[in-house]
């Protein structure tokens, strides 16, 4: 029998910054999402786990407003993107899986463009760009064009672009892809600093990343949420069963496959 997903604990969360309810998406004959629902509250860092093709990127794209769902509802900071797409997008910082950077632009120009696009101007824009350059250690590539940057720098530039207007909701698709161990550590520290007051959802294949950075885990498999629980609960369950969180995740995925 398929174990029930952990959805009860956070289902009645007060004032979530991000809410997905019953998301459906189909690509031709393939059902990519089959009723994906979860909320993310302020202060939560949610690890969005799943195998390749499970529906992580599709979910993130729908939440970021770059892909239309076939059905279901999204709410960003209390705003319905269907009714106010621009106001919703203005509250989201999105780091796509491929970084989505404009190749020919200088890094500084690119950050300024993203800031201006999000309503920053003058001294506020200059200050914010300087903050991000310092925080993400981008000084060395500030004058370089994006296509001249290494993969690690590109990832950090894309991260800076996503953070430029200090959004309330952060959606990161494989954010540590291409980062070296030191950069991954710095990213974890950044997540800790960012988490108060924000809803952060990031997809990854790497379970250690989730254990190191997140306080909640959402597992998606074949377009369905099969696990949604606080990390502490999973750790306690794993400890009680004498197994690991990895074992729990694999068990959930296999249980769904068997069902």
């Amino acid at each position: 029998m398929q174990p029930p997903p952990f959805t009860g604990i956070l289902a009645d969360m007060p004032n979530p910054l991000l809410r997905a309810h019953g998301l459906h998406k189909r690509y031709g004959a393939k059902l990519a999402l089959a009723g994906v629902s979860f909320d993310v509250a302020p202060g939560e860092v949610v690890g969005f786990l799943g195998a390749n093709g499970a529906g992580k990127t599709t979910t993130l794209r729908i939440l970021a407003g770059t892909l239309a769902a076939d059905g279901g509802e999204v709410e960003i900071d209390g705003i319905d993107p269907g009714r106010s797409p621009l106001a919703a997008r203005a509250r989201v910082g999105y780091l796509p899986e491929h970084d989505g950077l404009f190749e020919g632009m200088q890094v500084e120009d690119l950050l300024r463009f993203h800031g201006a696009s999000r309503g920053l101007a003058g001294q506020a824009l200059a200050t914010r760009v300087a903050e991000l350059v310092a925080r993400l250690d981008l000084r060395a590539v500030l004058a370089a064009r994006v296509h001249e940057c290494s993969l690690g720098y590109r990832r950090r530039v894309a991260l800076a672009a996503a953070l430029v207007n200090d959004p309330a909701v952060l959606l990161f698709d494989e954010p540590t892809h291409g980062l070296d161990p030191l950069q991954i550590r710095a990213f974890r520290a950044l997540l800790r600093d960012l988490s108060p007051g924000r809803a952060i959802l990031f997809s990854t294949h790497v379970l250690q990343e989730v254990e190191a950075s997140c306080n909640r885990v959402v597992l998606i498999d074949e377009g369905r949420i099969v696990l949604d629980a606080p990390l502490a609960v999973l750790q306690a369950q794993a400890k009680a069963a004498g197994s690991s969180i990895e074992d729990l995740v694999v068990e959930r995925t296999l249980a769904r496959a068997r069902a």
Partner: protein, 258 residues
């Protein structure tokens, strides 16, 4: 810092300022690349060549030798400008970045089109010394100068709108170029007397060729403007059709995305 406050335009560049931001980015990206500057220089020399030939070899200082072949030259070079407007973003997947930024589709479409129109305006501006030559050595008619440049600007903007739409339908810039150049050639040919006579012959009672030449092809409207005839119908044709292409461009962007 806390997240952005709620409110309609907070956290985004609203209205024209957003479209201008997009246009400035695209303008700089075009000039930073290799294609647009090269095409600009080649187009400039190609467009003034007939005038220079007539001026130095035949001693004629007439702007008609500049404006007459200009539509066909623009049909060759403006698709090279418009082909990158969306195809490049579709290829590099930066179209998702545009969709994630808080711009409306209208701002994106207008901004991209405007960046191409600025290149066109720059090219036309660089040809204005010809007007000085005609003023000194020939017979200058102000209405022909104004009408000619207005016609060239409107026709070029029309071509760019058509090309922007085509480029939003394919990730391959070469395909976008070829399709745009072919479509422009078809629309221009519809204004050719031989073409509309042939078309009229298929249905003499309906005169489809005459209808197409008057209401679909921008050629007669351009020639009227170059001749100093400023008519509302020409303006309606250019603006109406350009608006249609830009609307189709926005529709193409709406596919899959919001």
């Amino acid at each position: 810092m806390k997240g952005a406050a709620k409110g309609g335009d907070i956290g985004r560049a609203a209205g024209w300022s957003g479209a201008l931001l997009v246009a400035r980015r695209e303008w700089r990206a075009a000039l930073d690349g290799n294609v647009a500057p090269a095409v600009l220089v080649v187009a400039l020399f190609a467009s003034i060549a007939p005038f220079v030939h007539g001026f130095f070899l035949s001693g004629r200082a007439e702007l008609s030798s500049f404006f007459a072949p200009l539509p066909w030259l623009m049909a060759a070079w403006l698709p090279a400008v418009s082909m990158r407007l969306w195809s490049e973003d579709l290829r590099a997947r930066t179209v998702e970045t545009w969709r994630a930024l808080p711009y409306s589709r209208a701002q994106l479409v207008l901004g991209k089109w405007l960046s191409g129109a600025w290149l066109l305006a720059l090219q036309l501006l660089l040809t204005t010394p010809l007007v000085g030559l005609v003023a000194v050595h020939g017979d200058l008619h102000a209405t022909q100068v104004l009408g000619g440049y207005a016609g060239a600007l409107l026709l070029g903007a029309w071509m760019l709108a058509l090309g922007a739409w085509i480029s939003s339908t394919t990730a391959d810039q070469t395909t976008a170029y070829v399709q745009t150049a072919l479509l422009v050639a078809v629309f221009m040919t519809l204004g050719e007397p031989r073409a509309w006579t042939i078309l009229d012959g298929f249905a003499p009672e309906l005169l489809p060729g005459t209808f197409a030449a008057r209401h679909l092809s921008p050629r007669l409207a351009y020639e009227a403007l170059v001749g100093g005839l400023f008519g509302l119908d020409a303006l309606v044709l250019f603006v109406g059709q350009a608006a249609l292409w830009l609307w189709l461009n926005a529709r193409a962007l709406a596919r899959d995305g919001r």
